[in-house]
Each structure stands twice: as structure tokens, then as C-alpha cells.
Amino acid sequence: MARGVGSYIIIRGLMIIPTILILYTIVFIFLRILPGDPILAVVGTKNIPPEQLAHLRAMAGLDKPLYVQYFDYLFRMIRGDFGVTLAFPQGKPVWEYLKLRFPATLELTIFSFTVSVLLGLITGVIAAKNKGTKIDTSMRIYSIVAYTLFIPWFGMMLQYLFGVHFHLLPTSGRIDPGIDLQRITGLYVLDSILTGNWEAFTSAIRHLVLPSITLGMVLSGAYTRLVRNNMVDVLSQDFIRSYHARGVKHWKVTLYALKNAFIPVITLMGLQFAILLGGAVLTETTFSWPGMGTFIVDRIDYRDYNAIQGAVVFFAFFVGLISLVVDVIYALLDPRVKY
């Protein structure tokens, strides 16, 4: 059994390679093959000395034929070299930025993810247990409204309410300026726990509240819906009725139903995580959160193609990893999955 799971993980891990390659290729095609010279875009003017242009091209690796560029970049990336920035500050390894920015995004997404799953589970189970009543309808409307919330707008409304109006919570950044926190993982909450820095811990949590509620709530809608529908479906199944017919206690049956209803939700979690990352770009921009999203947006302003490519391909790796984790969890929970 254990060996089965191990080799399943390896095989599934190998299967994310084509996914990453495809995304890399798409991004490469868009950024390199479509018309427009990225260097000129960075510089923003055509009046630039030819030797400087040539230098920039060489730095970006643009002086080689396309197919060489394609494989060159691919192999360097596997070694963790994501190229260098083209725009200010020129020539800095993109990896340096990713190392700095990714933990911020990860922290935000972990908290938002937790918020969304918890909210979705609670609302979904409530709706299913009250199927066909007004409560069910209001949960359904909640799921639609949550799903269609526009992140920046919702974020700003929360900022206005809790930041401007009540002065309860900070509206931007990850931590109060002036707090000194030793960086270990880059996840501030974790780092502050590890170093026992409670001032930093409170500050980090307070900064996380609004962004993660914003992002988490928007994504909870999909869970509400799926949990509700699965739960209704499972509750109407024979095996639930036969649990009751065997005199199994009510709360236990609910638990078993929830377990069965949860299995399809795991698949959704993988897909939702991707949406979460997309939403993180907007959330980070809204809350000036120094993560991957704001990094990409900053680089857009400079038209820094190298940096954008690096960040996006990095995202592709991350998405692939998440889908792997999700599949493994699924296989462990559902005995029907064959490794």
C-alpha cells in the first residue's frame, strides 16, 4: 500500500511536467514571438545607441535564434535561474525577487484558502441541511453574490469601513513599519511564532485580516455551492438511509455524509487554488501587499518581459505542485482510486 502511494506520487509528479512545459511554451510564444521588440518596449524610445541596444539584447538572451532561446531559458530555469530583470534595477536576478515575494503571496493564499473553505463548508452544510427552505435560498444567493464580488471593490469597501471609518485594521502592507522581524521562511506569521516575536505576530495577523477575508470570501461561493449540492446528493443516497435504518446516531451519519460530500470538493480545491492565485494579484494590488502579484504589476509598468516570464513560469510550477498534492490527497481519501 505504502509503496503504491509512493510510486503514485512519483508518476503523478512526472505528469505535471507536460503541464508546465505547455504553459512555458504558451508564455514564451506570447512574449517572444508576437510582434514588438521587448527591449524597445522597456526603453520606451527608439532613439537609443545601437551598442547599448545590443548589450541589452545579449543580457536578455534575445540575440540568439528563437529555438535556442526557448531551450536555453528552459534549462536555466530548471537550475533555478529565471534570468535577469530588464528594467530598473537592470540585471538583477529575477529569482531574488521571487524568493522575496513568493512567501508573501503564499501567506496570503494560505489564509484566504482557509477562510474560503471554512466559509464554504459551513454555508454549504447549512444550506443542505435546510434544503428547500428560505435558508437554503439565502445561502444560494450568498454563493452567487460572493462569486461575483469584484475583489478590488470589495477590498476597498472593507478598507473604507474598517480602516477609514472605524480605524480598526490596517489597510496596506504586511506588517507595521518599525517592527523588526527576523526572516526565516518569509511567512511572517510563522516567522514571528518561530522567533517568539508576539508584537510582530499580532501585527502580521492584523494585516492579514482584510486581504484574506476579501479573497477568501470571493472564493467561498464556489464551495458553498458544491458542498451543498454534494451534501444534498449524498443525503438522499441509500447508504445514508441505511445508516439510519441500522440505528446509527444522527451526528455520526452527518459526519459520514460530509466525508462523502467532501471528496469532489477536493478536486475543486485544486482548481480554486489557481483562481486564488489570480485573485491574489488583484488583492495584493488593492492592499499594497508586497507579493508576486504586485511584482508582476510593477514589472508591467516597466514592460519587463523577462521578469514577467520568470514570475509566470514560477506560478506554473506552483500550480502543478498544488494539483499534485490535491490528487494525492484524493487518492488517499477515496479507496476507489486505483494507484
Binding site: S7, I11, K338, Y339
Partner: protein, 329 residues
């Protein structure tokens, strides 16, 4: 009487789905031997019932004969033509003469097609009528199968109809081309008991009208008795016994046939005495037992049965059995 359909050494193996791990480690590909070398023929105007438990390959046999799925091996000779060799267009031509009635009337009609159009469609596909004529013929057909008022039924969708009514539509669609041969796959098993007889009557009436030849696939021996001239019993992809209906039912020669008949509940014969005690369940068709496939469950099995596969031998007039130790009464 002449022969209309002859099946020779027909095989259908389905590959077993392998997991990614198994594909990558080059684990040997396995097959479900759904139909494993069967031969039989049907005379013009005759009804042959193919009976057996689920998974014995009877439904696969029906689908392969119409080439709805491709056979792995063997010949299917319909009116002198080996249809396994036909190309796409030739096959379409011959399908005018070979039709099918399906088990599940809830699934065999497109939910978004009016039932009248569903009945008329075969005519249009084969260019046998223009739209007007096809509609006229479909209306007549609706009336013929008892769905009246027919112009009202024409415009209904399947979900407005009961199971019995839908099955009439399915029969009408199959019969509108006036076929020579029909495969009826469990045509009444999903219909409510009180209406089964009327569906059988309907099939019977078409059989008389068109001198239909029929392969009637069923798990219900009582139904087979009602409609069939001959019965073929399948077990694990093989025909184990074939013969005239009364012969097979009253003098079953294969122990499996005997077990099957004895298990059928009856109102007339309520008191049961067990003639044969069989054990276990139908084995996996991926690795069927050696020799006679029934030997692990058969009370009469000996060494011979484990090693040598029995062939169909004639034990009475037109009555064949594949058993080393046929049951005698």
C-alpha cells in the same frame, strides 16, 4: 426455411483499463473475454433467445452482430454477406435490414428530439422518403404501435412518456424500415410487469407482419419461453447449450442450464426441490477457468472438465450441449 444469419467463431475481447503506473511499468495488457468463440445460426422468421446472467456476454453478442462494436475475430454472415468485411457506407446500407430494440427506453431516445421525428429519422437518413412522406409514415407507425392520438404523440418529447410508451417508440423506430432482422436486447426487462405482455405482443405482431427474424436477448427465462423458437444459454462468453425452447427447458443437459432454470421463481411450481446445488459466483472473464468454464462451480466436475474444453455436441434433435457429463433425466 433458409438461414438468414450465421455467426462463426465470434470473439470480442475488451482491453482492461490499466492505470498509468501499469502502462509505464509495461504490465501485460489484459482482456475481458466478453464473447469467446461462439457460433450459431438463425433461420429466416425464427426467434432465437440468448439467455444468461449479467456479464455472460449476451448483450455484447447482440451489439457485435450489428457491428455497433467491432468484433475481435470471427465472421457474421447476414443473408450471405460477411458484414465484418463491409466498409462504412456498405454497412449503413445493410443497417436498413438489421435493427435493434434496446433495453432501457429511458436512455435510447434523445431527450431533445420529438418522438415523431425520432421515428421518421431512419427514413430520412436512408433517403427512403422526403420530409412530408416520412412524417406521414411516422404517424402511421405511431398509430400502429398504439400511441394514439398519433398527431398528438408525434410532437411529444420522451420525458412526457411512460417507460412502456417509450419502448413502443423504440420499436416503431426500429420497424419503420421494415427490417429483416432485429436484435431485441432485454426489450421488456425495464417495463412494468403489467405492461410487459403488451410489448411482447407488439413485437410478435411485427414478427408476423414482416416475417421478422429475431435475436431476443434476455435474462428472464419465462419471457424467453414465451417468445423464442430456440434458446441459447451463455456462460462466461461461451454458448453452453442451444436447442429448441421446450427441449432446453424441459430436458436441460448442461448443469448450468439446470441451475438457472431451477432458480427461476414460478407461481405454478411453488414448491421447490433442488436438483442441483451450485456454489460460488461467476468468475472473472479476464482469467476464465481452464477447461470447462463452469467446472469450479459444477457438482459433477472431474479432472477432464478442468483440462479439456468441451465442444458443442448434438444430444437430441437440434439440441446441442457443451459438457463432458451432460445431465440426464
Amino acid at each position: 426455411m433458409s438461414e438468414l444469419l450465421r455467426v462463426e467463431h465470434l470473439k470480442k475481447y475488451f482491453p482492461v483499463k490499466r492505470s498509468i503506473l501499469e502502462v509505464l511499468t509495461k504490465k501485460e495488457e489484459k482482456f475481458v473475454r466478453a464473447v469467446d468463440d461462439i457460433s450459431f445460426s438463425i433461420e429466416r422468421g425464427e426467434t432465437l433467445a440468448l439467455i444468461g446472467e449479467s456479464g455472460c456476454g449476451k448483450t455484447t453478442t447482440g451489439r457485435v452482430i450489428l457491428r455497433l462494436i467491432e468484433p475481435t475475430e470471427g465472421k457474421i454472415i447476414f443473408d450471405g454477406i460477411d458484414i465484418t468485411k463491409l466498409g462504412k457506407e456498405q454497412l449503413r446500407e445493410i443497417r436498413k435490414r438489421m435493427q435493434m430494440v434496446f433495453q432501457d427506453p429511458y436512455a435510447s431516445l434523445s431527450p431533445r428530439m420529438k418522438i415523431g421525428d425520432a421515428i421518421a429519422h431512419p427514413l430520412l437518413i436512408h433517403g427512403l422518403a422526403d420530409k412530408e412522406e416520412a412524417k406521414e409514415l411516422a404517424l402511421q407507425m405511431l398509430k400502429r404501435v398504439g400511441l394514439t392520438p398519433e398527431d398528438e404523440f408525434y410532437n411529444r418529447y420522451p420525458h412526457h412518456l411512460s417507460g412502456g410508451q417509450r419502448q413502443r417508440v423504440v420499436i416503431a423506430r426500429a420497424m419503420i424500415l421494415k427490417p429483416d432482422f432485429v436484435v431485441a436486447d432485454e426489450a421488456v426487462s425495464m417495463i412494468d410487469v403489467s405492461m410487459r405482455a403488451s410489448i411482447l405482443e407488439l413485437l410478435e405482431s411485427f414478427r408476423e407482419e414482416y416475417n421478422l427474424t429475431m435475436l431476443f436477448i434476455t435474462h428472464d427465462i419465462a419471457v424467453a419461453k414465451l417468445i423464442a423458437d430456440r434458446i441459447a444459454v451463455m456462460y462466461l462468453g461461451k454458448i453452453v447449450e442451444i436447442g429448441p425452447t421446450d427441449e432446453v427447458l424441459n430436458n436441460p443437459a448442461h448443469p448450468y442450464t439446470l441451475a438457472l432454470i431451477q432458480a427461476v421463481p414460478s407461481i405454478v411450481k411453488r414448491e421447490k426441490k433442488k436438483m442441483i446445488e451450485i456454489t460460488g459466483e461467476v468468475p472473472n472473464a479476464v482469467n476464465p477457468p481452464s477447461g470447462c468454464r463452469f467446472h469450479p462451480r459444477c457438482p459433477f466436475a472431474d479432472e477432464l472438465c478442468k483440462t479439456k474444453e468441451p465442444e458443442l455436441i448434438e444430444i437430441g434433435k437440434n439440441h446441442f450441449v457443451a459438457c463432458h457429463h451432460p445431465v440426464k433425466d
